[in-house]
């Protein structure tokens, strides 16, 4: 019953407020509060690479803005979508309808993020997808309200596949997570492999958060391919690598971790992961600014941030700066402002493409160090090459987004 009374009270207040301040119609912050909602996997297979630490990163961003934007208080709510699209979409809809959320931030899981993007588009509110990988967010499933911030499966494929094919890995076999992300990653990687002159001998799909990879790995081994492409992430990647070592797969096949974060390397250990190529948008040790921010994060969380957590901070800061400048949180105006303003911070430098919402910035190809080359804790990567943004991501001319006019 408390909720009903609260609703009546809210409704009354809103009516009074509108009546009283209706005359000052332009430039308003809805509900008198800038509200940010964050949905991510907090407890399952992707909890480490984003999860509760991502929540902390966003809190840092809000604190650094002194908790205020455009003179109004910033409120932050977050929830665990448990990798279920129905939970994510329902929560998002409820937040937009009853909590007055102004910005929806999507953490991990591409399937959930695609569902979230549709809800945000329906409600005309900005949606920034950070942890999801599927390039569909800026292609087939693009909307005017989606910004795809950190990375996508196209960039990952172009990064990691090329050096492996050049290094002699012509024949590939994929171990794929059976949902939007895995499928995108496999198809984008296949395109790059074929362009580089390689061949895909086959693939096997595994359920998300699979327990036992042994039978899938045996199938991979019997294919005779040189490279085992891991089209999965988080806990699944960690377990695939461990099982591959256990079953001696690594004696006859090279492992390609198509999406890996520093937390995964930390879990697997340098011994098992050394020499693997990693394509990522950011590394904590890449620049003095990155190091400084990472130290702050480390002091709070006792571990180094992944690129997703850094991107959480960067994206929310970018939004808040846009709201602060415009003095409104109107969805359409803020979207235009975010796309017009370039991003230039410790995370990355670049611009968000107007047509499809893709944040184009440089990506980095790195290689996991061997244990003896690692000088301090979390010193896991050495930089191999920098991939310029317009080479890493899909060009507009090739985009499958219906909003892009050709």
């Amino acid at each position: 019953m408390k909720t009903k009374l609260k609703r009546i009270a809210q409704a009354t207040l809103a009516t009074v407020a509108l009546a009283g301040f209706g005359s000052a119609a332009h430039a308003q912050i809805s509900g008198d509060v800038v509200k940010i909602g964050f949905l991510t996997d907090m407890s399952s297979v992707y909890a480490d690479i984003d999860g509760p630490a991502g929540v902390e990163a966003i809190k840092m961003a809000i604190a650094d803005m002194k908790g205020m934007a455009a003179g109004k208080k910033i409120e932050f709510i977050y929830a665990d979508h448990q990798n279920k699209a129905d939970i994510g979409a329902s929560k998002a809809r409820e937040w937009f309808d009853t909590q007055g959320v102004d910005l929806l931030v999507g953490g991990t899981n591409s399937g959930v993020n695609i569902a979230l993007s549709k809800v945000a588009a329906e409600k005309h509110k900005p949606f920034i997808s950070i942890g999801a990988g599927s390039a569909r967010l800026t292609n087939e499933d693009c909307t005017p309200y989606t910004i795809h911030y950190a990375y996508d499966t196209v960039a990952l494929a172009r990064g990691t596949v090329n050096p492996m094919v050049k290094g002699g890995g012509k024949n590939w076999y994929f171990l794929t997570a059976d949902y939007a992300f895995g499928a995108s990653l496999q198809s984008d990687a296949t395109a790059v492999i074929q362009q580089a002159g390689g061949k895909v001998l086959g693939s096997v799909k595994h359920p998300l958060n699979a327990n036992d990879f042994s039978s899938f790995l045996l199938q991979a081994q019997s294919s005779g391919a040189q490279v085992l492409g891991l089209a999965n992430a988080g806990g699944d990647t960690i377990n695939s690598i461990k099982a591959a070592n256990e079953f001696g797969i690594t004696k006859s096949m090279k492992l390609a971790g198509l999406l890996m974060f520093i937390n995964d390397v930390h879990s697997v250990g340098l011994n098992a992961a050394q020499g693997m190529f990693v394509t990522d948008s950011w590394y904590w040790n890449q620049s003095p600014e990155a190091r400084e921010w990472s130290r702050r994060f480390f002091d709070k969380m006792k571990r180094m941030p992944s690129s997703l957590q850094a991107a959480d901070y960067s994206a929310v800061t970018h939004y808040l700066q846009a709201v602060d400048k415009l003095k409104t949180d109107d969805g359409d105006k803020v979207m235009a402002a975010m796309k017009a303003a370039p991003v230039n911070d410790f995370y990355s430098k670049g611009t968000i493409r107007k047509e499809d919402g893709r944040f184009v910035h440089d990506m980095f190809l790195m290689q996991v160090k061997s244990p003896k080359d690692s000088a301090e804790p979390w010193d896991y990567y050495k930089l191999v090459s920098r991939i310029p943004g317009d080479e890493a991501f899909t060009k507009l001319a090739d985009s499958k987004c219906p909003l892009v006019k050709k």
Binding site: M42, S43, S44, V45, A47, Q82, V204, N209, N211, D212, S214, S215, L218, Q219, Q221, S222, G235, N239, K242, E246, F247, G248, K251, S267
Partner: protein, 295 residues
């Protein structure tokens, strides 16, 4: 390389062997379920939760007390057995006079409570558990690398299964159990403490589940949800074998693991459903299960 039905022999043998490993788990779990059903007439939905508890206890023993795998192999089943005694005395015994279905519903509730409890502490993703050093490494069998640990799982399961079977079929205690199942009143009239036997049976059944859990810990991720999906398959196995039959449970468990492995070679997508398809067929043709007696 030699091919059987177009599949290279090494791949076939590899999947069969993995199937045998899975089948060992099915066998131990369905054995416990069959024993409990035979004695108490209760479908113990909580079996998966006890399996999970065994694995989680093994992990906790290592994490908090530094106890090795070998210790937990004995301790975890004991602890879970005690929990089983408490549950049986406190909750289950009220239901013996009622329809079977209430037992199923109560144990379903117990599953939710146990899983919810552990989930609130440990989240839904798994904790890693190391293979004990004595069993680490793999043997090159030629057609595949078999991690030694998996070989141990098969051996341990077979020993335990046949041990329990021998206990029930060949010893005096087993005879008392069987008598108590068939005719509790008469057995009690002979001075046998049937309620105690019932409690011990439940405790023993769930201890078996916990044992399987400890065996599983180094192979699968130890997570609060590890029992949930396994339990449905185990039900199907028990139904196929015959709800009260010990031998039926063991044979069906191993057999279905192998069939699942074979399916993974020829038609991987169907491997999840093959157990249920077999169950549907068995139920249509021999409703009491392959080894069961019509009740």
């Amino acid at each position: 390389m030699t091919e059987v039905f177009g599949i290279p022999l090494p791949a076939l043998l590899g999947q069969l062997l993995l199937g045998l490993v899975n089948g060992s788990f099915y066998a131990i779990l369905s054995l416990g379920l069959a024993v409990i059903f035979g004695m108490l007439n209760i479908i113990n939905f909580a079996h998966g939760a006890f399996y999970m508890m065994g694995a989680l206890l093994a992990w906790m023993g290592m994490e908090y007390l530094g106890l090795s795998y070998w210790w937990m192999l004995v301790l975890a089943p004991l602890v879970v057995g005690l929990v089983g005694v408490v549950i049986e005395r406190l909750l289950l015994r009220w239901l013996y006079q009622l329809d079977h279905l209430y037992g199923l519903l109560l144990t379903f509730g117990i599953t939710l409570v146990v899983e919810g409890l552990f989930r609130s502490f440990y989240g839904a993703s798994g904790q890693p558990y190391e293979v004990p050093s004595q069993l680490a490494g793999a043997t090159n069998l030629g057609f595949m690398f078999l991690p030694n640990y998996r070989g141990w799982v098969v051996v341990a399961s077979l020993v335990v299964c046949f041990g329990v079977w021998a206990l029930i079929e060949k010893t005096r205690l087993g005879a008392l159990l069987r008598a108590g199942t068939e005719n509790p009143r008469l057995t009690q009239a002979f001075g046998v403490n049937v309620p105690l036997l019932v409690t011990l049976t439940y405790a023993g059944g769930v201890a078996l589940a916990a044992f399987a859990g400890v065996l599983a810990a180094p192979i699968l991720q130890v997570s609060p949800l590890m029992g949930s999906n396994l339990i449905i398959v185990v039900f199907a196995v028990v139904v196929i074998g015959g709800m009260g039959s010990i031998m039926g449970a063991i044979v069906s468990g191993l057999g279905l693991g192998v069939i699942e492995g074979l399916t993974k070679v020829f038609y991987p997508e169907a491997s999840n459903t093959v157990v249920f398809v077999v169950m549907a067929i068995v139920l249509l043709v021999r409703p009491a299960g392959l080894f069961g007696k019509e009740r």
